[in-house]
Structure formats: structure tokens, C-alpha cells
């Protein structure tokens, strides 16, 4: 059989499952378990399609840019198809696990609410907390490079601080900074400061002695040495911390909102809607959080590329 024809057949299997989902009543697997065979066939078809796509990717390097995103896309589609099929097919209560389609429609219908939550949690708390935490971590690290006193004092404290769970400091911050986003930003500052501090310190210290000597022979000023030699060499470490902190900050804000908030915010929404059994709304908020987290991580990765083009880890893969 020609390859294109068999690919079409595989796609047809997936389409059959979609038609089944769209037309059958909920609970069709409990009534007629034979439908499960089609689901299994879908799994086989999807894995066959995945390997076909991988082959295509290798044989047409010029079209890689178009084919490559299809592979994780197909995989994600398969996961959603299974999720939807099992939930609908066995009529799983929405209180336990809502179907992806229900989550999607909730997401679309509640965009204004989700947007205000996003503004409160992400644009106010996360961004300011992240900015203050990372910047102060970097500044203190820069002082610590020069001062053995700060270095020796702060590094052990850093380990101590990173061992404190957020559930411990969140109520304290609420007590100090009030219920609004400021207390959440404070939690994020505490969470992000030390990863940034430790990473920047290691990065700034990693500067080769030979580079220092070279700058010295050029009669470079202290600022010039810092900007042209020390900082670029520390950048891989700093980006490491920035990426790590971008996820930490989001987690921190959401968890901190469990401990008292005005009635807005992603953490508030999750904790409240669980109590109201609106699980589709909880999942919709999780989707928003996941998208926000992925986007900030992606933005950092994009920023990293032009800044770190010279680094061995980037030089290789053009």
C-alpha cells in the first residue's frame, strides 16, 4: 500500500473516533465496551502517524519548520482525545474530572473573569514580585562577589530560606503586607531572591583569571570589566535562575492566594471553585496558568538566544 494511502487510513481511524464522540450519548463505553477497540486502534494509528511524521522530518530538512510542531501537536491531540473519550464514554462525574470540551467552553465563556484574575495574579503580583526578587538577588550577589563577609553569611542562609515552604511564609506575608497583591509579591520575592542570588554569585565568580588580566592590560575601568567580561560570562547562570524563577513565581502567587485574598485572582478562583464543585472553572484557570507559565518561559528562551549566541550550548545547534 502506498504510504500516503495508509496515512489517510490512519487519519480516518482518528476521524471515526471523533465522530463517535460527537454523536454517541454519554456513557457509551459502559453500555457497549466494544467501542474501546476503536480507541485502541486510535492509539496505534497515532503512534504510526507519529513515526511517519518523524521520518518525513528527517527526509525533508527544508520543511522541518512546518512538520516539527505537528509531532507534539498530534501527541497532545491524542491525550485530549483519550481524556475526552474516557470521561464521556464512562460518564465520569464532572465533579471528579470534567471533559476537555467542557473546560474549553468554560474558558471561552468566562474570559472576562479569567482576565481579571490574570491581571491580579500575573500582571500585578507575579511580575512585580519576580522583578524585585530577581533584581535584588542579582544586586546582592554582585556585592557578595566583592565582600567575603556577605558571601559567607548569605550562602548558608540561602539554603535555609529555600527550605522554608511557601505555606509557612504566605500567612506571615499576608499579615505584614495585607490581603492584596502586595503580600503575594512579597512571597515571590522571598522565593525568587535566593535562586537568583546563588546563581548570579556562581556566575560572577566563574570569571576566568586570564580574562581579568586581559582587561587589566587593556586598562579597562571596573565598569568596563564588569560589563564586557564578568557579566556576559555570568549570563548563562543568570538565565538559569530567571527560568527557574519564572515558574516559581507563578506557583508562589497561586499558592499564596489560598491564604487570604480579595475576591479575585487565580489562586482564589481555584480554591473557591473547588469548593463550589465548578471543576471546569478550576481547570480553565489551570489552563490559563499553564499558558502564562509557558509563555514567560518561552519569552526568556527567546531573549536568551541572541544574548548567549557565543555560549557552547548554543553554538552547536544553529
Amino acid at each position: 500500500m502506498p504510504k500516503s494511502l495508509s496515512s489517510l487510513l490512519l487519519l480516518a481511524i482518528l476521524a471515526c473516533q471523533l465522530v463517535l464522540l460527537a454523536t454517541a450519548d454519554s456513557g457509551f463505553y459502559s453500555q457497549n465496551p466494544a467501542w474501546l477497540i476503536l480507541l485502541m486502534a486510535c492509539a496505534v494509528a497515532a503512534s504510526a502517524l507519529l513515526s511517519r511524521l518523524t521520518q518525513l522530518c528527517e527526509s525533508y530538512p527544508s520543511k522541518q519548520a512546518y512538520i516539527k510542531p505537528l509531532i507534539p501537536g498530534l501527541f497532545a491531540f491524542m491525550l485530549l482525545l483519550f481524556w475526552q473519550s474516557i470521561v464521556v464514554g464512562y460518564a465520569v462525574s464532572a465533579v471528579l474530572l470534567p471533559a476537555p470540551s467542557a473546560i474549553f467552553s468554560t474558558l471561552i465563556n468566562n474570559l472576562p473573569t479569567l482576565w481579571t484574575d490574570f491581571k491580579q495574579t500575573y500582571l500585578k503580583a507575579v511580575l512585580s514580585g519576580y522583578f524585585i526578587g530577581c533584581l535584588s538577588g542579582f544586586i546582592v550577589a554582585q556585592w557578595a562577589v566583592k565582600s567575603a563577609f556577605l558571601r559567607k553569611g548569605l550562602v548558608p542562609l540561602g539554603n535555609f530560606m529555600s527550605a522554608i515552604p511557601i505555606v509557612g511564609i504566605a500567612p506571615i506575608m499576608v499579615m505584614w503586607f495585607g490581603f492584596d497583591w502586595q503580600s503575594k509579591a512579597a512571597v515571590i520575592v522571598v522565593m525568587t531572591f535566593f535562586p537568583m542570588f546563588i546563581n548570579s554569585l556562581t556566575g560572577l565568580q566563574s570569571c576566568d583569571a586570564i580574562h581579568k588580566d586581559l582587561m587589566h592590560t587593556y586598562a579597562a575601568s571596573k565598569t568596563q570589566t564588569f560589563v564586557k567580561s564578568q557579566l556576559p560570562q555570568a549570563l548563562p547562570f543568570i538565565f538559569n535562575a530567571l527560568k527557574l524563577n519564572s515558574t516559581l513565581a507563578l506557583i508562589g502567587a497561586i499558592v499564596a492566594e489560598f491564604f487570604g485574598t480579595p475576591i479575585v485572582g487565580m489562586g482564589f478562583r481555584i480554591s473557591t471553585e473547588v469548593g463550589r464543585m465548578n471543576m471546569d472553572m478550576v481547570w480553565a484557570t489551570i489552563v490559563v496558568a499553564a499558558i502564562a507559565g509557558s509563555l514567560s518561559y518561552g519569552a526568556l528562551a527567546l531573549l536568551e538566544k541572541p544574548l548567549l549566541f557565543w555560549h557552547p550550548s548554543f553554538r552547536g545547534n544553529k
Binding site: G178, F179, G275, M277
Partner: protein
């Protein structure tokens, strides 16, 4: 060899016993909150063997801030849950058919505790103030009250600013809220322990404001009631539970101590539990038929309050079959 045979034999005997030997019906009760005297009756009945006497092998699962009883019930983690009627009705409307089989509390213990200093004397003074409210399904009575008073909960000078209060009373001490939610049997005591005197406080009991909704009741899944064996077990459970509550109401001090024994966390204190047991006794259902009987009038009142809150609909339509007296009647005949 002999040992192996012996252990195999004893193993087989145990297995057989677990299938046939124990006639006791296994039931699991999921509480709405942590182990405390709010649930004294269940622990008393367990401790005194009331459940065992009726052939019920009961397991009590404490709840907590992150446990939604209805979800545990839906997931098969419990047979019976303690929940409040507003959240049970909301859950029912979401498609999980909870049914009330017995109402333990006849009165609401919820109140809004305000600082006199904040200038609040009547509900008319709430405008522009900050009020602490519990969420996680406990916000419904508050939202309907505000709707009845005509306040927007979005803040501003004419509305009220709502704070999601953690499960403590800190905001009133930190000056972050003018009022906080309290239960007569729990957090109100914490406010007093924290150093505020009753003279410095103004209390608004939901019961007196006409917005009281039914609190601790017993809920099961509707389908399980169709099984006669299950129904029989529920009736036995309810009978023993009522007996436990009657004892707890008559002996609050001892009931508090019994609860303390079952608190694995060790977080509760003797004085606190005894006080709670005494306060809780005042809330128990005072219907002619005794504890556990759901008064249809009280049910209707709760439903009306919930339906009336226009701005934030808790439930949108009149619930059907959300309670039954079948189990109570069967228990009465035992």
C-alpha cells in the same frame, strides 16, 4: 514446612472471615472539617460503641481546608458526608445527586463579628466596610445576605469589600477587616482568646438576620438509597448517630474529652473542645421528632434564601428530591 502450612491456613481463615464472618456493615463518614467537637456526636457514638451495637463498622475521616466532602463522596472515598445545605444544593445542581438523609443542626452557628470601633452598629452600616468571608462553599449564606441588604460585593463606597478570610480570625486583629466570619462554637472563642472583649464587638447572627441556612447535615448519593441493604445500613447509622448526639448534648464536657482522644493531630485543646461542645449543643435540631429530622420548613427557607440572591445565583432552580425522610423513618422503627 509446618510453619508455612500454619500461616497459609491462618491466612485463609482470615480471608474467609473478612468475607463472611463479619456481618458488620462497613461505612465511611467524611466530615466537613477537622476533628473537633463540631462533630462530637459521631465520635461519642463511635467511642461508646453505638455503631457497633447496631452492626455498623464506621470509619470517620476528618476533613480540612482542602477537602470538599462532596468530592470525596463522588470519588467513592466515603458513603456519607457531613455538609452544609447550600453547598450540597449547589453541588446537586452541578450534577452530583446529593440527598440529605438527616439534619443534625437545626440552627446556624454562623455570624459576622464586627469591631465596635469601626462604626458598625446595624447591617445598614456595612457600606464601604471590609468584611472577611470564608469561601470554599461557605460563602453562599453571606452572598445571599448581602444581596438581601442590597450591597454590591464589588467594593466601593456603597458596596462592601469582601476579603477571602483564611480559616482563622487574624484579619480583625491586624486591622485588615472591620468584620470577620465566625462560628459561635469555634472562631468566636478565638476572637475572645485573642484579647477582644464582647463589649468591643458587635455580633450579627445569621440566624437572627433571617438568612440562616441549614448547616451540618448528613448526605449520601441518591442512587445508593435504591439499594435496600444500603438503606438499612444508613438507618442504623443514623440511629446510632442520633444517640451519640443526644449523649454529647447532655454531657458536653465528656464529649469534648472524647473528641480530643480522636484528634490525631494533637492541635486541639481541652478547654476549646469543651467550649465548642457546649456551644454546639445549642444548635442541635430542636424539632418535635428529635435530632436528625430535617424540618421541611427550614429546608424551604434555606432554598428560598439561596434562590433569592439574584446577583450571585447559588442555585438557579428549585431543587427536586434533595432530601428524604426515608432513612429517618426507618431509623425510628429500629
Amino acid at each position: 514446612m509446618k510453619k508455612t502450612i500454619l500461616s497459609l491456613a491462618s491466612g485463609a481463615a482470615l480471608l474467609a472471615a473478612s468475607f463472611s464472618g463479619s456481618a458488620a456493615e462497613k461505612l465511611t463518614l467524611q466530615l466537613k472539617w477537622v476533628t473537633q467537637a463540631q462533630f462530637a456526636g459521631y465520635y461519642v457514638a463511635l467511642d461508646k460503641g453505638y455503631y457497633k451495637d447496631l452492626g455498623i463498622d464506621l470509619t470517620i475521616k476528618p476533613g480540612g481546608p482542602d477537602i470538599a466532602p462532596a468530592q470525596v463522596l463522588a470519588g467513592g472515598g466515603a458513603d456519607i458526608v457531613v455538609d452544609w445545605l447550600p453547598s450540597a444544593l449547589a453541588t446537586r445542581e452541578k450534577g452530583l445527586p446529593l440527598v440529605n438523609i438527616g439534619q443534625i443542626y437545626g440552627k446556624s452557628g454562623m455570624m459576622l463579628t464586627c469591631l465596635k470601633d469601626s462604626g458598625i452598629a446595624t447591617p445598614a452600616d456595612f457600606a464601604g466596610k471590609t468584611l472577611g468571608v470564608w469561601f470554599f462553599g461557605n460563602e453562599y449564606p453571606f452572598l445571599s445576605w448581602m444581596s438581601k441588604l442590597g450591597y454590591s460585593t464589588a467594593g466601593g463606597a456603597d458596596g462592601v469589600t469582601v476579603l477571602k478570610q483564611g480559616f482563622n480570625v487574624d484579619p480583625i486583629f491586624q486591622g485588615q477587616a472591620d468584620c470577620v466570619s465566625t462560628m459561635t462554637y469555634n472562631e468566636y472563642g478565638q476572637v475572645l482568646d485573642g484579647g477582644l472583649t464582647p463589649e468591643e464587638l458587635v455580633l450579627f447572627k445569621y440566624e437572627e438576620e433571617g438568612v440562616a441556612t441549614l448547616e451540618d447535615g448528613l448526605y449520601v448519593l441518591e442512587d445508593s438509597l435504591k439499594d435496600p441493604k444500603k438503606l438499612d445500613a444508613y438507618a442504623k447509622f443514623l440511629k446510632a448517630t442520633i444517640k451519640g448526639w443526644e449523649w454529647a448534648a447532655a454531657n458536653p464536657e465528656d464529649a469534648g474529652l472524647i473528641v480530643l482522644e480522636y484528634d490525631d493531630t494533637g492541635a486541639q485543646t481541652e478547654a476549646h473542645q469543651i467550649r465548642m461542645a457546649k456551644e454546639v449543643a445549642k444548635l442541635l435540631s430542636n424539632s418535635d421528632k428529635g435530632i436528625g429530622y430535617l424540618e421541611p420548613a427550614a429546608y424551604e427557607r434555606t432554598v428560598k434564601i439561596l434562590l433569592d440572591s439574584e446577583s450571585t445565583p447559588v442555585i438557579t432552580k428549585q431543587p427536586e428530591g434533595a432530601y428524604t425522610h426515608v432513612v429517618f423513618d426507618a431509623a425510628a422503627k429500629l
